[in-house]
């Protein structure tokens, strides 16, 4: 968490008074697609999508995970803008994904192990598609990001429940393994969570920000119990409270109407999180799993920018090119520190490694800080 959780809240009241309703574009789960669901067979090494061309309108994908790793399924527009996604599909499970797609060229992707670019395939959507008006493009951006938030909060709740269960069962190895994974979904959307003042510090507060009379709880208290004390026998109530807080914030986040300016500032805020908390190793000081959070912050920032992409493409294509190049640079730099399906620990990185990551974040954060002005600009 950051020290000034109200940043986004302030922006809500800012100059761009566009209040947006989530415009039911496919996540309601009630649309019926012509021709029935498109089967997706996902394994640890393949992603077979039954159709690679569909008509414009709502499509339904039925994803079955036949592999041994938890997987995810995405439909991407240009620039990896997420049109729809389903997270956290456990081995053996099936999930449906509803997505409304205008005519255009897309990609599908399965992500076994939930990492990397995933196994990609082309998807062509044919039909008539009128270009969006400027305001409609902004509306579409917030709707797209709302879908992203919803997918993340769903997975956050599920994975936190597994983490909490492991803690309460006293299964320390399992809880340790689940800690950085459940946090991934949190870190991707943390600027949204920070809108709700008290909840963020309760869920993600570090020991030194615990105010007098308040119990040190949340993720980092359990982290300390797991890694420092090696004893979670008394952590049950803390874990229960974490679960209750997560449920509350998920509900609030899903109901929140975000403005395009909040997306822009959220993308920047996530990089600030990396620069001030993850590079330094402050965030996960007991487990040193900071690079999971680092990667999740970048993914969340990318998702917010991707949602705004059509607007940015129209208004400042040079900025989009710069952002693409700098996101790619951050990914490549961070990618050097992969370890299996996860990441090296923060304390395994050298000072030179951290400097290189810091330089990459700075190179991205400066152009990202220009996005809000482009979004605010009247067309």
């Amino acid at each position: 968490m950051r020290n000034s959780p109200r940043l986004l809240a302030l922006v809500t009241a800012g100059s761009l008074g566009v209040s947006l309703a989530a415009c039911g574009s496919g996540d309601a789960g009630t649309d019926e697609a012509a021709g029935g669901p498109i089967a997706v067979k996902a394994t640890d090494s393949s992603c077979e999508v039954a159709k690679t061309s569909v008509d414009a309108g709502t499509s339904v994908f039925a994803i079955t995970n036949g592999g041994n790793k938890v997987t995810e399924f995405y439909v991407y527009a240009a620039g990896d803008r997420v049109m729809a996604e389903v997270e956290n599909i456990a081995p053996g499970l099936s999930r449906n994904l509803h997505v409304e797609l205008p005519a255009g060229t897309y990609e599908t992707a399965c992500k076994p192990g939930m990492i990397g670019k995933g196994i990609r395939g082309p998807l062509t959507v044919s039909g008539s598609a009128a270009p969006l008006t400027d305001d409609a493009a902004l509306l579409a951006a917030t709707a797209s990001y709302s879908r992203y938030v919803k997918s993340q909060t769903t997975a956050l709740e599920e994975r936190t429940a597994e983490f909490v269960a492991a803690v309460k069962a006293g299964d320390i190895p399992k809880a340790k393994a689940l800690f950085p994974i459940s946090r991934t979904y949190w870190e991707r959307i943390e600027p949204v969570a920070e809108i709700f003042g008290d909840l963020d510090p309760r869920i993600d507060g570090r020991e030194e920000v615990t105010e007098e009379g308040m119990t040190f709880g949340g993720f980092h208290r359990i982290e300390k119990d797991l890694w420092v004390a090696g004893d979670v026998s008394k952590s049950g109530p803390i874990a229960d409270q974490l679960m209750a807080d997560i449920k509350e914030i998920v509900q609030k986040a899903n109901a929140e109407k975000l403005s395009p300016l909040q997306l822009a500032n959220g993308a920047k805020a996530l990089l600030d999180e990396v620069a001030s908390g993850k590079i330094t190793g402050e965030e996960d000081r007991y487990s040193h799993t900071d690079l999971w959070d680092f990667n999740a912050n970048i993914e969340g920032s990318k998702a917010a920018i991707a949602a705004l992409r059509p607007v940015l493409e129209e208004r400042d294509p040079e900025l989009v090119k710069t952002l693409d190049a700098q996101f790619a640079n951050v990914d490549a730099t961070l990618g050097k520190h992969r370890a299996g399906d996860g990441w090296k620990l923060h304390n395994q990185l050298t000072q030179a490694d951290l400097k290189e990551l810091s330089d990459a974040i700075n190179a991205l954060a400066e152009p990202i800080s220009q996005v809000a002005a482009v979004v605010a600009k009247k067309a």
Binding site: G14, L16, L261, D359, A363, A365, Q370, A373, A376
Partner: protein, 409 residues
């Protein structure tokens, strides 16, 4: 938008006058008494013979991009920002507070209301830069990395760098503001490798300035090259035609050394010993046996005990041009105190800065002479070392830092 200085813009706003303050470009590198600004363009870069200002912020950058065009664009952007800031204006075209509320300001704002404060920004290119961007053939022979000297205790993270910028000003906040904004503009292309603040000039570069003192309490740079000595500057300071590649003609080579002074032990040594080690009196700074600061050093007189009056290991003897084949440099170093060192001692010393026509006949022989024998070595540690080639001054608005170096063919 009219080019108002930070201070005049505020004054005008305060008085409610809608007018324009035209800045007079002055050809001299001395601060204009009215605007307090030093001309940014000229035959040589400002910040070398410019009367030494009181404050320093020096920065060395690593170039982190592989894209030559991005680096050249940064040099252009830097030049534009430096031209503005040295004239007392904001770093960006919009300014610290004139932009739209949703955008981060293009100037960081801490210099609002401050004068130009004689700010100079001086750029130099380090040997490591020439290993990249196809610059290999353009590296002057004089820009070979410095050799290791006896007793060096260098910290690699504080040494060298691809590009250096020296900011000098009479107000510390103006100097820091300049470096901070240049570093920000450079993000993604360069990364700060090391930087150093200095608070008190230790040399005078003009006959109009009194000789200041270093943290040992002694006058430093009495025999410095001065702006009023054009013949000596040609001979010892400015790179002359034929010395090396044309892009450096009119430029100068910059050596920096961060020299930690063990002031606590120095302060416990007797006055006579201090004066013996330096070779000058502590009060007026006269050479041993002489009456006035600017009297010539007497190398030969012998005392009643038969020993030379000026010790064989005295700092002035070892550093003197007569001892080093006439080697001379223009020094414009600064005192520093970087807090304390955790052992109850001040982390203090001299950030040595010297400009010269060729380090191979100036800094290198002088430092060889000093590093082996100087008694002062007992009280100092060299912790940082760097060498940069500082090109000549900018010819006008279409010129930019490094243009002659990068835009050849």
């Amino acid at each position: 938008m009219v080019a108002l200085s930070r201070r005049s813009a505020l004054a005008l706003a305060g008085a409610g006058v809608a007018g324009s303050a035209a800045l007079v470009a002055c050809k001299s590198s001395k601060p204009d008494p009215v605007t307090d600004a030093v001309a940014f363009t000229g035959e040589h870069q400002a910040g070398i013979v410019t009367p030494a200002q009181d404050r320093l912020h020096f920065v060395a950058f690593d170039v982190i991009t592989k894209d030559r065009d991005r680096l050249v664009q940064l040099l252009k952007d830097w030049t534009a920002a430096a031209a503005r800031m040295t004239q007392g204006r904001d770093a960006g075209e919009i300014g610290a507070v004139a932009g739209i509320p949703e955008a981060p300001p293009d100037d960081t704002g801490e210099a609002i209301g401050l004068p130009a404060a004689a700010l100079t920004l001086t750029i130099g290119f380090g040997p490591s830069l020439f290993r990249r961007f196809g610059l290999g053939a353009r590296q002057p022979a004089a820009l070979a990395p410095l050799p290791k000297f006896t007793g060096d205790t260098l910290d690699a993270s504080l040494c060298d760098g691809d590009i250096a910028i020296q900011a000098c000003a009479n107000d510390p906040q103006v100097a820091v503001h300049a470096i901070r904004n240049l570093a920000r503009i450079g993000m993604g292309v360069v990364s700060v490798r090391w930087s150093q603040l200095g608070f008190g000039r230790t040399s005078s570069t003009s006959t109009g300035q009194a000789t200041p003192r270093n943290l040992f309490g002694f006058k430093d740079g009495t025999r410095n090259l001065k702006a009023e000595e054009p013949d000596l500057l040609r001979e010892h300071l400015w790179v002359q035609p034929g010395d090396g590649p044309d892009w450096m003609t009119g430029g100068s080579y910059l050596v920096t050394r961060k020299i930690r002074m063990l002031v606590e032990t120095w302060d416990r040594s007797p006055l006579a010993e201090q004066e013996m080690i330096i070779g000058r009196t502590k009060g007026i700074g006269a050479p041993v046996g002489m009456a006035d600061e600017f009297d010539d050093v007497d190398f030969t007189s012998v005392g009643a005990d038969g020993e030379p009056l000026l010790a064989p290991v005295a700092h002035v003897r070892l550093a003197h041009p007569d001892t080093n084949n006439g080697a001379r440099m223009l020094r414009r170093g600064y005192n520093f105190v970087d807090g304390s060192d955790g052992l109850g001692r001040l982390n203090a010393g001299l950030f040595f800065i010297a400009y010269q026509r060729d380090p191979r006949t100036a800094f290198i022989p002088v430092q060889r002479s000093l590093s082996g024998r100087d008694e002062l070595n007992e009280y100092i540690r060299h912790v940082s070392s760097a060498l940069f080639a500082c090109p000549p001054g900018l010819s006008g608005p279409s010129d930019f830092w490094g243009k002659a170096l990068f835009e050849y063919e």
